[in-house]
């Protein structure tokens, strides 16, 4: 698969590393050179310096032939715009993005994007952990 990833933070660099190790073709975009330090030394993918909401940058990352597009910068709105460029302009078959704000996540899920909302997911997991144990303090 050809995978384009926008945002080389902890999540982006990790996903890039794992898929690259499986032999997929990876391009990873970040606007700060130092972010690429998170990648392993002999990372086989393509590094593209620039913003993920600029079509010229995305084209040089190979978006036109991408099978999967992943937007995981720290900024919700940047991820949303990048993902919609991939979805609407370049018709990438699978578009995945991270949105921290649960309300925004819901709106864009409704627009046909694959949205991952860590805030919601983590809150749900914590809630489930608390409920599962039925912890009650036994008074002595």
């Amino acid at each position: 698969m050809r995978i384009v990833i926008v945002g080389c933070g902890r999540v982006g660099s990790r996903v890039a590393t794992e898929f690259a190790a499986e032999g997929h073709r990876i391009s990873i975009v970040d606007q700060r050179q130092e972010s690429f330090r998170r990648l392993p030394e002999r990372f086989p993918g393509q590094l593209v310096l620039g913003t993920g909401i600029d079509e010229d940058v995305l084209r040089s990352a190979g978006i036109e032939s991408a099978d999967v597009f992943i937007a995981v910068t720290e900024d919700d709105n940047t991820n949303i715009m990048a993902a919609q460029i991939a979805q609407v302009v370049y018709r990438v078959p699978k578009v995945i993005l991270r949105i921290y704000d649960p309300e925004r996540a819901e709106v864009y899920r409704g627009l046909g994007l694959t949205v991952i909302c860590p805030t919601r997911t983590v809150a749900d997991m914590i809630e489930q952990q608390v409920r599962e144990g039925h912890p009650t303090r036994v008074s002595d």
Partner: protein
């Protein structure tokens, strides 16, 4: 016509100022608390601190009853999301986004933004074409006590012309505070007679606005 402006940079500031002067009901949302403080001193309670892409902020700004949302921050990705959230969550009929990078104009249109603009004066001309002149304008909501200041232009066919104020059946909790007549400001008394062309400045409880409008402009067509 209720307009929400998001982004209090130079464009947002002058846009808000101009719209207020033109008599539109305007609300300005800005992220930076220091700027909000300055704008509050200038515009009063129509300025709010918040992130315009957040549902809670849009709700507090009254997006549910907004006719137009205009996103004019310096970041295209924020302007896009503000407009899309306003449309998807609050069914705002008309969204206008400032586009900082001209390459994004076509993209924004593909993504459902009604109008994209790159300059203040263009924004103004578009708004002016799309918003018809109105005889009755809500100038501002006051932060306390549910009060509003409205401006009403008395038309030739208004039911109240040639009547002294004491004879008008003004709703309770409504006061005509000033009249602008031929460029002169009059502080009225009960004896003051309303003339066609008068601009009335009225302080009213917000829930009396509809009644007041009907009294001054006649029943809705």
């Amino acid at each position: 016509m209720y307009i929400i402006v998001v982004g209090g940079g130079k464009v947002g500031y002058y846009l808000t100022k101009t719209l207020v002067n033109e008599g539109y009901e305007v609300f300005l949302v800005e992220k930076n608390p220091a700027k909000v403080q300055v704008y509050r001193d200038r515009f009063g309670a129509i300025v709010m601190q918040g992130d315009g892409a957040e549902v809670a902020t849009l709700a507090a700004a009254g997006a549910g009853r907004a006719d137009v949302v205009i996103a004019v921050t310096g970041d295209d990705e924020d302007n896009l999301v503000i407009c899309q959230m306003a449309r998807e969550r609050f069914r705002v009929r008309r969204t206008i986004a400032r586009v900082n990078n001209p390459k994004n104009e076509e993209l924004f249109r593909k993504l459902g933004i009604d109008v994209t603009v790159s300059q203040t004066n263009v924004i103004l001309s578009i708004i002016e074409q799309q918003i018809p002149e109105r005889p009755f304008v809500h100038l501002m909501a006051l932060r306390h006590a549910d009060l509003a200041i409205v401006e009403a232009k008395v038309a030739e066919d208004s039911p109240v012309i040639h009547q002294p104020i004491w004879q008008l059946e003004l709703p309770p909790e409504v006061i005509i505070t000033a009249i602008l007549r031929h460029g002169e400001l009059i502080i009225p008394t009960g004896q003051t007679v309303i003339e066609p062309g008068d601009e009335l400045f009225i302080v009213t409880k917000q829930q009396r606005e509809a009644e007041l409008r009907e009294l001054l402009t006649g029943p809705p067509a």
